[in-house]
Symmetry: C2
Subunit: 490 residues, 2 copies
């Protein structure tokens, strides 16, 4: 149970690892770097998927599915893209096993070697733009607004559950447009969708901005991102949206006849979020007792725990609980009545705290007499006794309040941990303490790299909402026109 | 549009291939044997997924996600299973590419060879039962009722869109139980879910039954299946549910302490349906004009096409259509108003016929005068003029009627193409004509194999609803106690 969960203040990293396992979210598999997403973790991911998918459809996108494999020659076509992903590819070289002639088991059949190796997709620009070649002939075929829910593989050497795994689940949007302007608008629109999802569903405030050139997606002209601050003061990139220019259209020869009857290369965007969001969700809100889930993403929003001795008491309590259960369900609330008799109520309380259930209702014999119920909030760990009259409506409102409170708490945390820093000494001191640092930067990759080498801090983004402000680079002393966001990051 | 679609009677196979492409369901990709599922096809698959997923959850199952890769040594553990899948495996042998030192492009980095090869999952029993080992200790951990939505790869040599592809999408349920009895009940329960889905959602009647030993899933004690009859008289296996006994528990050492405090191996089931169902759906109902979709799975259930010349007429029509559109939407109907001006209404009629939209509403100036609308049914290709009064309710009922009519039509077709056959001569004649053949079988693999060799007919299943009936094997003349279902199959 929560007993023995390491404290965040003592070992944040261990706290995270243990929490992911004990709350039944995920575990490491026997396959190096690949995770098993357990039912409770997957139920949260499904809620995320559903909300995002609705938002994609509301903005005019359709889902489709493209092959898992990318022929090596396709990956090679866009040079920067190839360079970016070549180092961490799972490569399929054969298509058959055969019995081992020298003993037991199976061996790779050398006669079943592929003529061309296939790469397990690390991302799908190459295979998708090779397909778009046949789908796009005229401006009438544009825009093409497609999303894919899929698994991808990047052979990461150091992995952590949800945050960095060799295989992960994600969605990748791939759109084609007739003009640069339209593609840029799409890139922005989808970053907006991600930010809205992070803030409204995950209750996690994010900074929207652009990556520096050195942090861009391999093959992109511009990468936009949302950045969130975790409770240990490190940043987590939570979603990216790329303007790909005509790079992939040129590599895969995707041309269309424009309204002026001229052949032109199409303009591209791609954008994605992944199961990494699960890591962000966990780290943004949870505490030493376990998960804290925003009600909108909680698989169980309300749990009802009876406090009783013996079957007769339970029957009396259930008689009162059953109509309440139905009322809550009818109000669209995901509710569980845990009347199992193999654990005591104290054990159950701790268990649902660990699992982050937003509201716990406790009800015993005394409550039956008084017509009351105990309402416990996971976010504040407070409880109060309330009359059963009108309780369903109260709970409905309470869930909204909890959603908003979790967001506000994270926002306050971020405000308190965002620092405008103007000297290199202060920068070095502050970066050790964590948080977002707003500092001037001279715009060069050289300075960016030196700061990274000396402090492990990276430029998380050039924020959209930064005001123009003359200043000097915190490291080089050269002139700068706005602050950027630095942090150590996951 | 539908112009040029081959006729079913002339070339069924070509008709299918062309229909899949022209109705924008799927296409072959540049990767051998892998398909691209296009947005319209994927929208149907999403509807199938949603309905099935709800049915799985209603029967107590939870979703989870397991790794894409299966280490070779895991696949080897269950011997029959290994044999069954070894011949068609995509094998990952390396995890990095590097620049070609001898020229352009990338080559596989020989220094990044995996110690143990990874197989892209052809199915997940091995990786999942290796995981269950850690999840199952006591009878309290059982039953474990888990489903996964995933992509799988089987290196098929002859592929056809949806019906047989190297990569396909599916769901695979993997459950663990304390007793054989419970596992057998689960195997039956999930076959029932599949049959209900096929009949109620796909409007496709199916025969439920058991596979013969030679047609069982590799590693199963018993394989149950649903079999449907396509319009060309061939059978299509549409879903399977396997009782795996203790085979995988023994191979992966999954033991639990039972209520009597004794260690026992767990009992297993697995069950799956795949994008193959898309092929079944297409072939079960569609005609020479194109797709015929049952309303419950149609991405667009109703399309409204205005018949007009010039913007002024269109404005008048739209004024009438807009409230109707809202009414239909409010009634939970998926409706599209196609007021695009780049195609004539005749073109649109053909296009929506090709796409299988169940109901098409046509409305012109004369209709405005008369207060009428033209209602065209895709299933019967009939149309009638109706008053606009109460039209939303009429359409709602009509969709139900179409759903039921499509099912009845398929059921009638199956009845007319199911034959009880008692002599070998009749068997050989009938099998050339197609259909389900109900014939006596002596129960031996030898006879089954000889019939297959001579006629290409296989035993589709030993049907659950067959009555006991003394008879003699149609081929060997040996005694038999019930008829089984023979057919040529996809």
């Amino acid at each position: 149970m929560s007993k023995g969960l390491p404290k965040r203040s003592e070992n944040y990293s261990e706290w995270y690892n243990e929490l992911v396992k004990r709350a039944d979210l995920a575990e490491n598999s026997a396959v190096r770097g690949c995770m098993v997403i357990k039912p409770y973790g997957y139920a949260i991911w499904e809620k995320m998927q559903r909300a995002l998918d609705d938002m994609f459809k509301a903005t005019g996108h359709q889902n489709a599915y493209f092959p898992l494999f990318v022929p090596k020659s396709f990956l090679e076509k866009e040079e920067e893209h190839a360079e970016g992903f070549a180092k961490e590819c799972a490569v399929v070289t054969h298509y058959r096993l055969k019995p081992n002639p020298d003993g037991k088991g199976l061996i790779v059949d050398p006669s079943a070697k592929l003529e061309e190796e296939l790469i397990v997709r690390p991302t799908s620009e190459a295979i998708i733009w090779n397909t778009y070649k046949n789908w796009i002939q005229s401006w009438r075929d544009l825009p093409l607004l497609i999303n894919q829910w899929a698994n991808v593989v990047r052979w990461e050497m150091r992995t952590r559950l949800f945050l960095r795994t060799a295989e992960f689940l994600w969605q990748e949007g791939h759109t084609a447009h007739a003009t640069a302007q339209e593609a840029i608008e799409e890139t922005n629109r989808m970053l907006g969708v991600y930010a809205a999802f992070a803030e409204e569903w995950m209750a996690m405030p994010v900074i929207k901005g652009a990556k520096t050139a050195s942090e861009r997606f391999a093959g992109a002209e511009e990468t936009l991102c949302i950045e969130a601050l975790m409770q240990d003061g490190r940043a987590l990139q939570s979603g990216t949206s790329h303007f790909l220019g005509q790079n992939f259209a040129k590599s895969f020869d995707v041309k269309f006849v424009n309204k002026e009857n001229q052949l032109e290369f199409a303009w591209a965007t791609s954008w994605g979020v992944s199961t990494r969001l699960m890591g962000a969700l966990i780290m943004a809100h949870s505490d030493d007792q376990g998960l804290v889930l925003p009600p909108k993403l909680a698989p169980i929003q309300v749990v009802i725990v009876p406090i009783y001795k013996g079957a007769e008491d339970l029957a009396k309590i259930s008689e009162k609980v059953n109509p309440l259960f139905e009322q809550l369900k009818a109000a669209g609330i995901s509710v569980k009545y845990d009347d199992s008799d193999n654990q005591r109520s104290g054990w159950k309380f701790a268990e649902y705290e660990l699992k982050g259930v937003p509201v716990r209702l406790g009800i015993g014999l005394r409550d039956l007499e008084n017509g009351t119920i105990e309402v416990a909030r996971r976010d504040t760990l407070t409880k109060e006794s309330r009359s059963l009259d009108g309780i369903a409506k109260y709970i409905k409102n309470l869930l909204d309040e909890i959603q908003s409170n979790i967001y506000q708490k994270a926002l306050t945390f971020r405000s308190e941990n965002t620092f405008a820093v103007d000297s290199w000494e202060d920068f070095k001191t502050q970066i050790e303490k964590g948080g977002f640092i707003l500092a001037h930067w001279d715009g060069t990759a050289e300075t960016e790299e030196k700061i990274k080498q000396e402090t492990k801090a990276t430029i998380r983004c050039i924020p959209f909402d930064a005001k123009a402000e003359e200043g000097t680079d915190v490291y080089s002393g050269k002139p700068s026109k706005q602050r950027v966001v630095f942090a150590r990051a996951y």
